[in-house]
Symmetry: C2
Subunit: 458 residues, 2 copies
């Protein structure tokens, strides 16, 4: 602290501060989602932000490039920041072999993406996840979809839809199209390429998808699908499927091939029946174009759109990942989960004016009208707080009443408590309601009851 | 996910998972502290886990070695994980020049210490801080001490003490002892060395302190104090000061020298008067041995001890740091704060049996007695949740009643809801209270009211 050279108080791009107004609104959102998750029987879990790199990384791929690695005192193995909460959950489940199954956990946690610094791109953001580990497809997936819808409804969002699909149906489409292993590439890799292209539909549109599906491979291990016009037409017939949920599934059933595809149709039918009984079927729409980029999904997938802000993409998404825990564990353990992206959702709700922001929730500010009465002021302060009324005394050095009132107004304090010689003589205080600008004398013995009244707006 | 090589589901030392029982207890603690901070008029703030290294690091020293640096995609400047919440607060204040002052913020956040991996040492831990920025010594310090005591009391801790002292009194001691600049070392550096030695009193005892105070420097820039026996005797007279708070300050006043020391005595006297009016004076003890290691403190300092676990050290500490924001900002901005170490406190409260842990707070588990009634079960589930009763349906694949009951017992569910052919015919369900083991038939229309009753323990 002895240097005089100033350090620039700058932040790296994508790492954001949240000031009081944002934090109060975000805190309410998180509390709401947590309450919904708990209502559905999920238990809280916390895992650290830091894991061994080898735990986080699969077989390379996208995440490999997007990870923040740590250097600190000597380690046997490299450490890194988590990029989602799911991989750590899988690690936790594999490490805790006596865990009660099915394990329904929720987690609120920051995740980190080592992307190139770029405006508007979060490199740290908050996820609020719920997962069911150790339960097969069907009821567990319905519960995950239901809890996602319930969280959205709980946040006061009326116009949203949870779109669902099943990776197995896409496998059945691939079978119908005739996608197969090619050169060094497995059939699975080629099917994943089909998913990757379909996942870009919204971004690149139908002509873009068509071009990508027909693209020729440039080298042996290039996954480009190189479909014929006929094959592309089949994919497009699939993408054109319309109707209500039942009609879509019937039409998809007529088009896909193979056992896996048929299993996918059956899974979604069962899930839809469960969602009907759970009361959430009207919020859920089968959408055969939903693919979800992440390679770890193996069955049903979901994503949630705000109908008034479709352009921001999914605000809550997830799906079934039956093979991930098998990376760590001898036995395959099925799992399904949902993840609410709090930062994106918070931005969206602000744009839709569905969040009310306040700077604070302080009920009373005690004005330092005359410093010689400080003990009296502090005694009032003590009594207010003991009664559960949030209160503070002005701590600044500007002794003027106007400056102190300006502080109270900017902070969003509800009442000013003002007390000078006259008020002390009369055994009470002046209370100024900053919403109504009404001011009146309140005897000391009535002060607590007076401040407990809901503030009346002007 | 195509590899068969298993990754070991291990965690780096000092990075801990918290399972449901711990998380529910920790969540209650955090909520309690937040409520107290809000009662005192503090507003929430969040800053990211990642900052530019140059923001976090001062003039080197201890923190330099203990920092986790990040490597990710290209950056102009190195990034690192924060090691406390205070430096980031200072950066935030300096960057937001239109901030309402005094700024009273609280923050709940993980901090990271790049220590050598070692059993029992946290490398990620949660801090719950409150700070007042932009207010001078006196009332603001009293508020910070009061809010620390109020948080402890709010957590149900009865036997604690907040020890307070003032760095300026130690400066007055240094003046009395005759500590001064030496060679390339400034007086400030030599006084900091005195503080560093006094801070080790509990660890190394009186003989250890004596030895360290008398140690000869081995090279020119070695801060070793090399005090004479006479000087050491003066320090020991200071450390021997006893009595109530007023007596200690009077005795210290007689011993210290210089304006700074006198100012420190006056500051503590004012703070104690304010704490008396705020009702917290009986929890606060002047302790002239409290030094706090961190070099950034400039005035009053505090630390909080649990009287039944003195050996664990301070569970909440802080102080005034009037020069830190000046690292970033042209104007010096005074600041004072407190930091509750949640992980250490949670461990302590567990040892003192002051936390009750439960695995979940689920009111009802619906048993899948016969899968053909699933729609009925889900309808009950929907109605329970709509009434705010936390409920789940058994999602596992073991269809036996015993396995499902075992799940409910281990998860700490309060009631089982059991429904087969007979119950459906009678228009209701069997409800088994898992605490009392009592089971009775409840008609459907009475179920919500029945489950809302508080569970009676056996």
């Amino acid at each position: 602290m002895t240097t005089n050279k100033k350090v620039k108080p700058a932040q790296p791009g994508g790492f954001n501060d949240y000031g009081p107004a944002a934090m109060i609104a975000r805190g309410r959102m998180i509390d709401t989602i947590r309450r919904v998750y708990e209502l559905y029987g999920f238990q809280p879990l916390d895992t650290p932000c830091v894991e061994f790199s080898e735990v986080l990384l699969g077989d390379g791929g996208e995440t490999e490039k997007e990870i923040f690695r740590l250097t600190g005192p000597e380690e046997d193995k490299e450490l890194a920041l988590r990029f989602d909460l799911t991989v750590a959950l899988s690690r936790y489940v594999a490490a805790n072999t006596d865990l009660l199954m099915p394990f329904k956990r929720y987690q609120v946690g920051n995740v980190f993406r080592g992307e190139k610094p770029q405006a508007g791109r979060f490199r740290q953001f908050l996820q609020v996840d719920a997962d069911v580990v150790g339960a097969k497809t069907g009821l567990a997936d319905a519960e995950i979809i239901a809890v996602t819808a319930a969280a959205m409804a709980g946040l006061g969002i009326e116009r949203f839809v949870v779109r669902i699909n099943d990776r197995k149906i896409h496998d059945g489409l691939a079978a119908a199209v005739g996608i197969d292993a090619r050169g060094p590439l497995t059939r699975g890799e080629m099917v994943n390429e089909l998913l990757r292209v379909l996942d870009k539909l919204e971004k690149i549109g139908r002509p873009g998808v068509r071009a990508e599906l027909m693209k020729k491979p440039e080298y042996e291990a290039d996954r480009a699908l190189h479909l014929s016009a006929e094959q592309v037409a089949l994919v497009e017939r699939f993408l054109d499927i319309a109707g209500d949920n039942g009609e879509k599934l019937a039409r998809a059933e007529a088009l896909v091939r193979g056992e896996t595809g048929a299993a996918g149709i059956a899974e979604l039918r069962e899930i839809l029946a469960d969602l009907r009984a759970l009361g959430w079927d009207e919020r859920v729409e089968v959408d055969l174009t939903v693919a979800r980029g992440l390679e770890y999904y193996t069955g049903p997938v979901l994503e949630t759109r705000l109908l008034d802000l479709p352009e921001i993409g999914s605000v809550a998404s997830g799906g079934r990942y039956d093979e991930m825990i098998g990376r760590f564990h001898a036995n395959a353990i099925p799992a399904v989960g949902t993840s609410i992206g709090l930062d994106r959702l918070f931005d969206a709700l602000q744009r839709l004016q569905l969040v009310t922001t306040v700077e604070s929730e302080v009920d009373a500010l005690i004005i330092v009208f005359d410093a010689k009465y400080t003990a009296t002021y502090l005694d009032y302060l003590r009594r207010l707080r003991a009664a559960g009324i949030s209160a503070e005394i002005y701590l600044g050095s500007d002794s003027g009443f106007k400056a102190q009132m300006r502080y109270g107004l900017r902070k969003g304090v509800k009442h000013l408590v003002i007390c000078g010689e006259d008020e002390i003589a009369q055994g009470g205080v002046q209370v100024k309601n900053l919403a109504t600008r009404n001011q009146e004398f309140v005897p000391a013995e009535r002060l607590l009851a007076y401040l407990r009244q809901p503030a009346v707006s002007a």
